[in-house]
């Protein structure tokens, strides 16, 4: 049953991605990217990763769609149709890369295999077996996120902070052309 849901969700995901690649209306592309995020959130849920599904649904389908729409309001929503001559070169590169990667998957463990090296590694065993006693909270993801891999999460938080600083540096003030002192004043607040 899970397999069927999995296959269908992946199918929808592929259709959405192809539609996004072909569309020329940026507004449509952004709306499709919201759908794409929601579908991948459903897939994360099917693959037993509720924390990730939760985040993807909130961030991908919510915030990033809103931010992209905000950008489109500033830059316009039509793109030029792509040039024909680029198509074939790009398609060739993409197909060759794809085949090389697909060849590489033969070395990957089977999907859902419990004897997968990722599952049998001592790190995973430690997280699953000992975190309940060591940290004392049931959600292993939270204990790994906040405690075992605290450094990593600190780094991620700093990245988010830095991105906000960079966006403020780029867009924080009104345009230089035709700005009155008043507008600047209101913008700073």
């Amino acid at each position: 049953m899970t397999l069927v849901i999995d296959v269908f969700l992946f199918l929808f995901l592929m259709i959405t991605a192809v539609a996004m690649a072909r569309m020329n209306s940026l507004f449509g592309v952004v709306m499709m990217s919201g759908i794409y995020s929601l579908l991948s959130a459903a897939l994360f849920m099917v693959m037993d990763a509720p924390d990730v599904a939760f985040t993807e649904a909130a961030v991908g389908a919510g915030i990033s769609t809103v931010l992209m729409l905000g950008t489109l309001a500033l830059v316009g929503r039509v793109q030029k149709p792509a040039l024909r001559r680029h198509h074939f070169a790009a398609l060739g590169i993409v197909i060759v890369t794809g085949i090389a990667l697909a060849y590489g998957t033969y070395d990957l463990p089977a999907f859902g295999d419990a004897d997968n090296p990722v599952q049998t590694s001592t790190v995973t065993e430690r997280y699953v077996d000992v975190s309940g006693r060591e940290i004392g909270i049931p959600n292993i993801v939270t204990s790994v996120l906040a405690s075992y891999r605290g450094y990593d999460t600190l780094g991620e938080t700093v990245v988010v902070f830095t991105a906000a600083v960079a966006v403020l540096v780029l867009l924080g003030r009104a345009r230089r052309r035709g700005v009155t002192g008043e507008e600047r004043e209101s913008d700073l607040q």
């Binding site: 793109q79 049931p138 993801v141």
Partner: protein, 152 residues
Amino acid sequence: MDNLLQIIIDHYNYWIVIILMMIGFYVVIARGNLVKKLVGLNIFQTSVFLLYISVGNVMGGTAPILVSEAAEARPDAQVLYTNPLTSVLILTAIVVGVATTSLGLALVVRIKESYGTMEEDEIIDMDQAEDKAERDRLRGPTPEEIAEGHPS
């Protein structure tokens, strides 16, 4: 034949992830619009997330949340959990991904404001025209131009 079917069942997930990844890659290299490129990068990024979660998944496993309070005291070997580590890596990556995407969008807004376009080929043409004008200015008038009596 059974062997082939087994290979497909074992690997179809990775193949679809690769197809999605390549669609994203295609959008990035074949489309000139900068917003479209960012959307392509997002497709690519999400396919990497799916790859990680696929690797961490266990058939018949459950979400990595300990099933009962009793499990705290007694590690329960019977319950199969999905890998918590892949979840942690990806859930932070999603939030960082939206932050970096917004930085990219901010750059697109600034590019649009200074160039008046967000199509890559037009931006390159404008840059090259500007470079050429700059080179011509630095080089000064050519001997032919001086001979014709146009000093600049």
